[in-house]
């Protein structure tokens, strides 16, 4: 390093160093306090030191060891003045290397080791009261529309313009909401139906589930019932099984306004709160069985749409490699590549990873879990631009880096690393030369809410525009400009892992923790529209 520490700070730095290491004595503390009061810039210097510590913690957890692991770098460091080079031999060298390269959890005799990696994690929250689990052609309106299938729903209004949705309350109650409907979630066991139709399934453990409308308050006593509400006609309750209690709205459940409805009965309460018994009409409400049938039928149709797209991709001349991730029973340790003649051919060796369920029932995926899990592929060729797209399900951000697809080694112009950082940033690193930052790192894109859900990732390396663009679920969310570009060449590479080429016997753990069920590589920079279409057609639910 060409820099030299600035003169004049030696004593202050030494005291701050002792403070940093928790070894500042009372007399030194007084001296440091004195220096802060008298030496100009001392407060700033102390702040600089403390921010450096924070930055080092953050950076060293996710740092790329590849730069250090090349033989050249190691040779260079042998010439260092630092005398421990000679001193480190045998066991000590192994230990030092282990401490640096091994996952911290693998070294049981050092319980303190992972405290700092995890220490700066803030507390995260879930203020949801229900989960949106399934939809059929749902169209949402209004500001509170749910983000994703499987997402937690917070208290607030859900306006379903069309279609149907299944909502599971944290209390255990399930409702099927049919659009158009306007449902306001209050808590894990309470909601207001402003308008529309729903069917509720309330098991005994969710008893007490309460629904409000302008005309009534309904308290469930372990049952299945239907409720329909509209402004002109008021509310209708249909009890199919079990029993519910009805009260006048805003009556504080006054006993005088209470009426019990049992199985096979129903009640119409008009806008002036006049009550008339009705005969329940189960056919007016979608049952769980019907909902599941309809959603399966719709899914089959959706899958046919994806199969069409998949056939198009097989013939697409821009495709460098298309891995549909379909298990071949005759040789299930090979990852097949789809070819234009409609056949598949083995193109990758599966190591460790197991076959598992993909985006929908019947679709295969590979599950990467353990440090050894990977698929080895070889992609010869050189390209000016590339687009990579993948359907993945992340199960955890446990490692500093989770690999999607990485060229073997690193310092080779054109080598490509596509990976996810432990903090949810997505990165495409392309090595150009030693002087330029190779990384196109997105802002934080993924978080705990994204674990366990299928998502579509894409990245475009566009050499003409000197840009890298990251996409999540069909939408571009990050673009970086490249100072220098090189033609890309993936060559020998690993899906879900990384081979450093530096150490045959020990490797940093960078396996992907999750599943992958489609990976396509194009030799061109694809348009935003095309990537959005891949997401639309391929997404897990219609």
């Amino acid at each position: 390093m060409k820099h030299k520490p600035q003169a004049g700070w030696e004593r202050l730095d030494a005291l701050i160093g002792a403070l940093r290491e928790g070894e500042l004595g009372p007399e030194e503390a007084t001296e440091l306090k004195q220096l802060l009061a008298t030496q100009p810039g001392a407060h700033r210097r102390l702040s600089e030191h403390m921010f450096l510590v924070a930055a080092l913690e953050a950076e060293l957890v996710s740092c790329d060891p590849e730069n250090d692991l090349t033989p050249a770098a190691r040779k260079a460091s042998r010439m260092a003045w630092w005398k421990w080079g000679a001193a480190i031999t045998g066991l000590a060298a192994v230990l030092a290397l282990l401490a640096v390269l091994w996952p911290i959890s693998r070294v049981p005799e050092r319980p303190a080791a992972n405290t700092f990696a995890a220490a700066t994690r803030p507390v995260l929250f879930d203020s949801g009261v229900a989960v949106l689990t399934k939809v059929i052609d749902a169209r949402w309106a209004g500001p509170g529309r749910p983000a994703t299938i499987g997402a937690s729903l917070r208290p607030g209004r859900l306006q379903l313009a069309a279609g149907a949705a299944r909502i599971e309350f944290y209390s255990g109650a399930t409702v099927i909401l049919e659009g158009p409907a306007d449902l306001e979630l209050i808590s894990a066991s309470e909601a207001i139906l402003h308008s529309g139709r729903l069917r509720a399934f309330v098991p005994s453990q969710a008893q007490g589930f309460t629904l409000h409308s302008r005309q009534l308050e309904l308290v469930d006593r372990g049952t299945e019932f239907g409720l329909e509400v509209n402004d002109l006609e008021g509310s209708r309750v249909h009890v199919f099984r079990g029993k519910v209690e009805l009260f006048d709205p805003n009556s504080g459940r006054s006993p005088s306004s209470k009426s019990d409805l049992s199985e096979g009965t129903g009640l119409h309460v008009d806008p002036r709160l006049a009550k008339t018994p009705i005969t329940p009409a189960p056919a007016r409400f979608t049952s769980l069985h019907d909902f599941n049938e309809r959603s399966s039928a719709r899914l089959r149709e959706h899958i046919r749409g994806w199969e069409d797209l998949s056939r198009q991709l097989r013939r697409d001349p821009r495709v460098v490699a298309y891995y549909p991730f379909e298990r071949e029973p005759a040789d299930d340790r090979a990852l097949n590549e789809a070819t234009p003649d409609g056949k598949e051919r083995p193109a990758g060796s599966i190591v460790g990873a197991n076959w598992s369920e993909g985006r929908w029932p019947g679709k295969d995926a590979l599950e990467f879990k353990r440090p050894g899990d990977r698929v080895r592929v070889n992609l010869p060729g050189q390209w000016e631009s590339l687009t990579l797209t993948a359907w993945i399900r992340v199960d955890g951000f446990d490692n500093g880096w989770s690999s999607l697809i990485l060229s073997d080694g690193w310092k080779r112009p054109g080598a490509l690393h596509w990976q996810i950082a432990h903090n949810g940033q997505i990165e495409l690193a392309v090595f150009a030369d030693d002087r330029h930052d190779p990384n196109s790192r997105s802002p934080v894109a993924l978080g705990p809410y994204d674990l366990g859900r299928w998502m579509h990732l894409a990245v475009v390396y566009d050499r003409n525009r000197k840009q890298v663009t990251h996409y999540l679920d069909g939408a571009a969310f990050s673009r970086s400009e490249l100072a220098v570009t090189v033609p890309l060449s993936i060559r020998n590479a690993e899906i879900g892992n990384w081979n450093t080429l530096a150490h045959p016997d020990i490797n940093p753990i960078r396996n992907f923790n999750g599943r992958m069920d489609e990976l396509v590589i194009f030799r061109e920079a694809l348009s935003a529209g095309e990537i959005a279409r891949f997401y639309e057609v391929g997404r897990p639910q219609p």
């Binding site: 820099h3 403390m50 450096l52 924070a54 950076e59 630092w82 169209r139 994703t148 959005a532 997404r539």
Partner: protein, 187 residues
Amino acid sequence: MADAENGTNRGAQTPSAPEEVFTRLLLANQTRIYGFILALVHDRAAASDVLQDVSVVLWRKFDRFEPGTDFAAWAMSVARLSIFEWRRRQKKLPLPLDDDQLTRLADEAVALSFDFEDRLGALRRCLQELMERDRNLLRLRYMAGETMTRIAELAAVSRVAIHKRMNRLHALLIECIRQRLTVEESE
């Protein structure tokens, strides 16, 4: 563009739940906020505890955060009070300071944090300029969380030598970051 109405997309155009927005902001800014806390608390373990407490306070006050403004700046203004309170509750502090000094230190830390992302970028490159052995020393300390005594054992040198080297490395990095920021500004 993906259909935002269908409920299954999460592009930038779909409003997310507040806790999801909050989580993203907190994760994206946590190092900067943690650095600010550390500047006033001076102990990594204590700063982590304070960060946990501050996270809860931030979440409770999140409805007062103005979207689109600097989340970390807001978080630091909220954290400042929590940290001052925390310091008052401690029987023993690594570095006792009076309120004036602490306020000055907090102001300096806030000012310094505004180009934190640039500092982080500069640090990334400065780390690459270090010798591998020095980088490993920092890794043992900050990634593996080893004690200085243990690092001295591993390196088979004295504790004094490790302390000296560590102090020098920190000073070098501060200088390197400073120069890189100056160069980038003038470019």
